[in-house]
């Protein structure tokens, strides 16, 4: 089998061209093929859709490195989740605490700390906050669903990002 690096000139040119109608037909056929032989989980496309959109921009992708659940409240029934993301430029620890029905609060801490602009993206829209100088930020009343954080290059702060840092989509 030929590896991706072993293609000669013609496939290279084919690969660099924009998608055309025949690609669309082929992809539709591939979708039908996989629907038939192996349907995929319902939310996978949503997750990947985020990523594909972002892949077309200049971004730095943060990886999810740790996820844990800790009991909160006296009865310990509600569980907060702590999720840590890491990229070359930043590490971000995020705590997601359920509040009202189908809502939660997100507390984050960026390291190294700086007053970076943080964007929360979800299918309900996007929302911006500025972290404090220690890199702490929060979003309240976040509806349940897939969300994603984007850390934007921000002028005149101690940590200068070269490109936005984006987390994978997580379910809150």
């Amino acid at each position: 089998m030929t590896g991706p690096g072993d293609l000669d000139g013609e496939p290279d040119r084919l690969a660099a061209a924009l998608l055309d109608d025949e690609d669309d037909r082929l992809l539709a056929e591939i979708a039908r093929l996989y629907e038939r032989i192996d349907p995929m989980p319902a939310d996978l496309v949503d997750r990947i859709g985020f990523m594909l959109t972002l892949a077309d921009m200049e971004i730095e992708l943060a990886r999810l490195i740790v996820e844990s659940r800790v009991p909160v409240g006296a009865r310990g029934e509600e569980r907060a989740r702590t999720v840590t993301f890491s990229s070359d430029s930043l590490t971000v620890m995020v705590t997601i605490t359920p509040t009202a029905d189908s809502e939660c609060r997100i507390d984050g801490w960026i390291a190294p700390g700086a007053a970076i602009r943080v964007e929360l993206r979800s299918d309900r829209g996007n929302h911006d906050v500025i972290a404090d100088v220690d890199g702490r930020f929060d979003f309240s009343d976040v509806p349940s669903g897939l969300v994603q954080l984007v850390f934007h290059p921000t002028a005149d702060v101690e940590v200068q990002l070269r490109s936005p840092v984006v987390t994978p989509a997580v379910q809150v």
Binding site: P11, L14, A15, D23, L26, E29, R36, M40, V45, G49
Partner: protein, 73 residues
């Protein structure tokens, strides 16, 4: 059982691709295309400077299919 001869030929060729390509094509086939017009407005970039290229996996599949005498599409 695959529905049609077309799908059988397609599957036979897809199965010859590297595993990574198979996964990628599967994901791309189901993902909704980003709205490149809206994206370019949001980013302040001219349309055409961003856009989906075919990529090596799809290019390889098309090359294989065009060499397969049983493929007619």
């Amino acid at each position: 059982m695959l529905a049609s001869a077309t799908q059988q030929v397609l599957w036979r060729n897809v199965a010859k691709l590297p595993e990574r390509c198979q996964q990628l094509l599967r994901v791309v086939a189901f993902a909704e295309r980003p709205d490149y017009g809206a994206l370019s407005v949001a980013l302040g970039m001219p349309v055409g400077s961003i856009g989906p290229t075919r990529g090596r996996c799809l290019a390889k599949l098309r090359t294989m299919l065009s060499a397969d005498p049983e493929w007619s599409s």
